[in-house]
Symmetry: C2
Subunit: 223 residues, 2 copies
DNA sequence: TAGCTTGTTGGCGGACCGTCAACAGCAAGT
DNA sequence: ACTTGCTGTTGACGGTCCGCCAACAAGCTA
């Protein structure tokens, strides 16, 4: 008889196995809520023993965090869009690019960023918040706005808040279709313009005619 | 000897007991994430057997939903604020009222509305979305804006999206203090004004001078 | 082919949750 | 004051899920 008819399981490089498990986990976490995806499900989907998940990722929660991290790392904004024209034009193009990117990830993006997976987990919030910071910094940089360091924390916080609007409207768009893509883009562009004007009031005059009702006081922290 | 020295437990009316459990659950869910609050914890906190929670609320998830519901029902906006003055003034007052209300609920509100509790649960999302609708409708009504029924779904979706901005910025404010209350109020007011102008473009001229760069097309679904 | 490295398995122990039959507080009836 | 009955409440049982770890085996090397 053949010396080793067929091995009962195949031995993979750690990186390969890790990647394979990550993909299965990503798919399942996109289909069902966090609590309803058991490690047994993921293991079965990947065709491995359940204990292997703990071996590679530690806790189930850690595996989920890895999934979120990989999902939120969005590649190259700056290479794919030109940054010319008025502030409004640039804003609209960057929002458009962002919606394109999200559209490719689809439901998994919504499930991960949205009402969440895990319940208010500090680590998860840190990761998402960090990803929001990156996205915000990219956007601001793309808009050609330099961050003066004194207000950095405040500006980042404002952009993270804007991220809340982004996610909520995208959820409306992707999930139920209660907003069309045009609606979403309009909403996000207008809001971003307003925020930029508040955070960087000195740039207001760059965008064509100034607003009629410019609030003279309290456009920034008193200095 | 005394006939019944002291009963080992006290018998309460169902409504009383329910309320007592709800309060303990509310406190605990405000302190820790959903998954880290066991029904045993809640039962111990309330000085009650664990099975009683299931008797009154069914699943642990149902108890959590009850907590969220009670948390999101915010009483009387319309009675407490006058609705006179320009659109900007009314917006700023309503935002201010909302921030006051949230401030009283504190961390629990943030934990409940925020990154959530349960993982993307349809029922939970329905509840939160419904509460957002109520808050949005109250706000719009308070602003003196009548909803024309044709665009109702779209308008509600936009206001729910705005709710995402509200929650995110409030989280920045309450949690880490990365935004001051003034920052939060400024951000939310400006954004709300913009949204109202987009959703109800015909009301733009009510608020002083019109914007210089008013977008003539695509201010609504084509009809 | 024998030996060694290490990727992988499978079961153990513990935590948590939903259910349900039995128990007991307590108010009404005698 | 004692008994009866209603029902609020308890405590344990069965099941699921997860983290851990010793044993196992795939596959390279000599």
């Amino acid at each position: 008889m053949s010396p080793a008819a067929s091995p009962r399981w195949k031995r993979l490089e750690p990186d390969e196995r890790r990647e394979q498990i990550l993909e299965c986990a990503t798919r399942l976490f996109g289909e069902r809520p966090y609590a309803e995806v058991s490690t047994t499900d993921i293991a079965r989907e990947a065709g491995v023993a359940r204990g292997l998940l703990n071996h590679y990722f530690g806790q189930k929660r850690d595996l989920y965090l890895k999934v979120v991290k990989r999902m939120l790392l969005m590649p190259g904004l700056e290479e794919s869009v030109t940054m010319t024209g008025t502030l409004r034009e640039r804003v609209e193009r960057s929002v458009e690019w962002y919606l394109d990117t999200v559209a490719t990830h689809g439901k998994t993006y919504v499930a991960v960023t949205g009402m969440g997976g895990i319940g208010s987990d500090p680590e998860l919030e840190r990761i998402i918040s960090e990803a929001d910071d990156v996205a915000a910094a990219k956007t601001l940089e793309f808009l050609g706005l330099k961050v003066e360091v004194g207000n950095d924390a405040r500006h980042r916080a404002m952009m993270r808040s804007y991220g809340g609007l982004v996610k909520a409207s995208i959820r409306e768009w992707i999930r139920g279709g209660t907003l069309s893509r045009e609606d979403t883009q309009l909403l996000l562009s207008e809001a971003l313009i307003v925020i930029v004007r508040d955070v960087f009031p000195q740039l207001a005059q760059q965008d064509g005619p100034a607003r009629g009702d410019a609030r003279a006081p309290k456009t920034g922290p008193k200095r």
